[in-house]
Amino acid sequence: MPETYDVTVIGAGVTGAAIARKLSSYKLKTVVVEKECDVSFGVSKANSGIIHGGFHHDFSALKSRLEIRGNILFDQLKEELHFPFKRCGIVVAAFSSDEMRTVEKLYENGIQNGAVGIELCNHDRMLYLEPKLNKDVVGGLFAPGGGIVEPYRLVFSLMESAKKNGVELLTKFKVKSGTLKNDLYTIEAEDGRNIQSRWVINAAGLYCDEISCIFGAEEYTINVRKGEEFLLDKNATAYTSRVVFPVPSKDSKGMLVIPTVEGTTMVGPTATIIDNKEDYSTTKENFKKIFSSARRLVPVVSERDITTSFTGMRPTLEGDDFYIEMSKKKDRFIQVAGIQSPGLTASPAIAEYVKDIMKRNGLELIEKPDYDPNIDKVPRFRNSSKEEIDKLIEENPAYGEIICRCENITEAEIIASIREGHDSLDGIKFYTRARMGRCQGGFCTYKIMKIVCRETGCSMNDITKRGGESWIVNKKIGDFTTGSKS
């Protein structure tokens, strides 16, 4: 007999993870199924990490209300889950009186939405708030409640917390079919695994439309809006003290300059509608576009500082709002689709919203007396003082073994990642930051691979970058017939 659950969440992105954690506080048997080998490996991993300020959309949009509510919840979440988060504030820089008029509209949105502390600024105040801004700035907007997080760390922490409170996670579980019989959904994975569930939450990001179709629920189309971003070195002079937005266009919030919580600078993203959901490629044209746009905001942004680039995908729906509703065609099937920006910001509020929908539709929610919202804090070498490091090493010598020299990541942190289930190279990278610095793994990749082998008992051939066919090495010396090309 397949395992039977009260709730199945499809997708372990920030939305799915936040919902799972919320449900873990109640007496429910919940499972999260994820097609990738780790959580956060879809849309969420390439999120810009901005906790939005509540002024980009007007009050009529659901996403606007959830953004405001989500934003407020982040301080408490950080206390409980220890992911890197900083309320550094957001500025929107206008370079003409036309742009200033749009800024005034944003300000009105913010006031209407209830964005705390939002203000209009003149030229001087803009430069006071962000001295690296282009001196041609006419004026702009300041949202002190805006901030930045490490998006994958947020998702990892949410899922760790959910698991701690009894939620199960099934990775590499790509849903093939979902059938409803006798009030129970049977969900089958491509590899033949089966589970049963009373409720299904469709939080499948880019693939919500396909999942909905598989279950025979509503038909709709997720349009993928692709965004390319560049990451600059920690030493880049471009590092600002606030998130810097341009004045938005109709299609997107524009290409911005983001000072990440970990001290790197991110520039981008672009916004292009694409047909192929798996087209994660970057292009030269967009590279030029991003840098000229970023330099218009912050002139010291330099191509010399690039350490890497990547692509993110935004799952969008016609009308551009979130679609969070009970299915009208299938019982106890909840659509959580079109979660594009500000999805990350809204995620804790989305979780509450989904919980409320379930409650309204008959799910009995009994709080668990032993629910623990806190997870253990893994000490990070790079955030510790000399005295703390000395003590950490005394307690655990693996804190004295630096593996990633660019980001100062120790063996102890890598072991913690593997033990928490993040054992692909990208999983370890997102959990620890190892291989994320300026050498991009040139020095430490083989060391990490050895630790994975030791900790999990796997062989070098089993290690992947991010699951699937993303192997690193697959042969040993002597495996090929040599001398074939002499």
């Binding site: 990547f310 066919e469 090495v473």
Partner: protein
């Protein structure tokens, strides 16, 4: 926290650090080497090919053999060696420096020293640095990482490889991968001339019939999980000619696209980094702008032969000795790269002793001339049989030649290459 006091601390136990340490210890000064890996030798340990030591030892050695020679030398001398220990910070207290390092067996250690020698070597430039478009699959390696996997761990990164950049490590790896049975499809070089030594082009590519595409770039990487192929586009007069793009199927892409001195610790200590070399700007004593902090080897500028690293580091050691003995050579005057010179180091000279400079050409030329001028007046003109960017040029200038010329504080030495 453990506290240790010595005269000199050397960061890095590779070829540069060991040579400098030996020179300092031979003069009776107390010196400690802090090396982050578990053994001394640095990158030499994975360079198992031959061609090392022709200048220094007048014989042909492999990288590990060259390293071993120096390990034996430093083991004979009273040199403290800490391996598996990483330096995180240099705190300049003027008269002395506090250097903080840690390891799993020692915990945090505070070294109190009079001088520090930076000898951390360099790192490889990577995909982000050259901005190769396309998808981001597994299978893109820097050549040095691939070299490590093959030579130390016996692992093969892939079966069908394309190599970007004709730097020496890339060329050596083309041969190495061929030897272990992988299929090296092509080496792609953006410049119209090879980036590596001529002898490596012959021995590593020509001997294995591996095509070298000069003035070409990898313009796109394909593959969802693992590399599946690359587009290669020629450059015509420096501009991409997309119509002539061709595709190669491969599962591995190796990048040998240059090295960058690794100066994170130096920067934190306030050391000024030269835009030209990406290493510290140093005076004629190989001392940085921070008094008592010296630099040598690949952390100063990227060398093409280890023999030159050793030569420079021995000199560095002797300058440190002079510094400790209060005999540091006096006035330093500025040095500037002249025509067709990409960089020159050191960036200062003295008239109290002979000066040695290393420089790199921006041009490829037979029968070039090296021209040294002081305040606009030519003082040396020397024939160079052949110059190219990949081959470092050394230039010695005797003190007498400089002394006789009446130097003032604005004096400037310029070294250029005439075609």
């Amino acid at each position: 926290m453990k506290k240790i006091e010595r005269e000199v601390l050397i960061i890095g136990g590779g070829s540069a650090g060991m040579a400098a340490a030996a020179e300092i210890a031979e003069k009776g000064h107390s010196v400690v080497i802090v090396e982050r890996e578990s053994t001394m030798g640095g990158i030499l340990n994975q360079c198992i090919h031959n061609g090392f030591g022709l200048h220094r030892f007048k014989e042909e050695l492999t990288g590990p053999e060259y390293a071993e020679r120096y390990v034996n030398i430093i083991n004979e001398l009273p040199i403290d060696q800490y391996t598996g220990m990483t330096v995180t910070e240099i705190d300049d207290q003027k008269d002395f420096k506090l250097v903080y390092a840690f390891s799993s067996h020692e915990g945090m250690v505070e070294f109190k020293v009079k001088a520090v020698v930076l000898a951390m070597g360099c790192r490889e430039r990577n995909r982000g640095n050259i901005g190769t478009p396309g998808s981001r699959p597994s299978g893109v390696f820097t050549a040095g990482l691939a070299q490590r996997l093959v030579n130390i761990d016996g692992l093969i990164p892939g079966k069908k490889c394309v190599i970007v950049g004709s730097g020496d490590i890339g060329l050596i790896m083309a041969r190495r991968l061929s030897w272990v049975g992988a299929d090296v499809q092509a080496v792609v070089e953006i410049q119209p001339y090879p980036a590596g030594l001529t002898r490596n082009i012959v021995q590593c590519l020509n001997d294995f019939n591996i095509p070298l595409h000069l003035s070409h770039i990898v313009s796109k990487i394909y593959g969802k999980d693992r590399v599946e192929g690359v587009d290669i586009t020629p450059l015509i007069d420096g501009i991409e000619a997309p119509v002539q793009t061709f595709h190669i199927d491969c599962d591995t892409l190796l990048l040998s696209v240059g090295l960058v001195p690794d100066n994170e610790v130096s920067k934190k200590a306030g050391v000024i980094i030269s835009n030209q070399t990406s290493g510290p700007a140093v005076d004629g004593n190989l001392m940085t702008n921070v008094e008592g902090i010296f630099a040598c080897g690949n952390v100063l500028h990227v060398h093409d032969l280890v023999d030159f690293v050793t030569e420079e580091s021995i000199r560095c050691g002797s300058y440190v000795n002079s510094y400790l003995e209060g005999k540091t050579k006096g006035s330093q005057y500025s040095v500037m790269a002249g025509a067709n010179v990409r960089y020159i180091t050191p960036n200062k000279f003295t008239s109290d002793s002979d000066n040695k400079f290393y420089l790199r050409s921006m041009i490829v030329k037979n029968q070039a001339e090296l021209v040294v001028s002081l305040d606009g007046r030519e003082i040396i003109r020397k024939k160079q049989k052949h110059v190219q960017p990949s081959e470092m040029i050394s230039c010695e200038i005797k003190a007498d030649l400089l002394k006789s010329t009446g130097l003032n504080e604005k004096s400037r030495l310029e070294i250029g290459l005439k075609s």
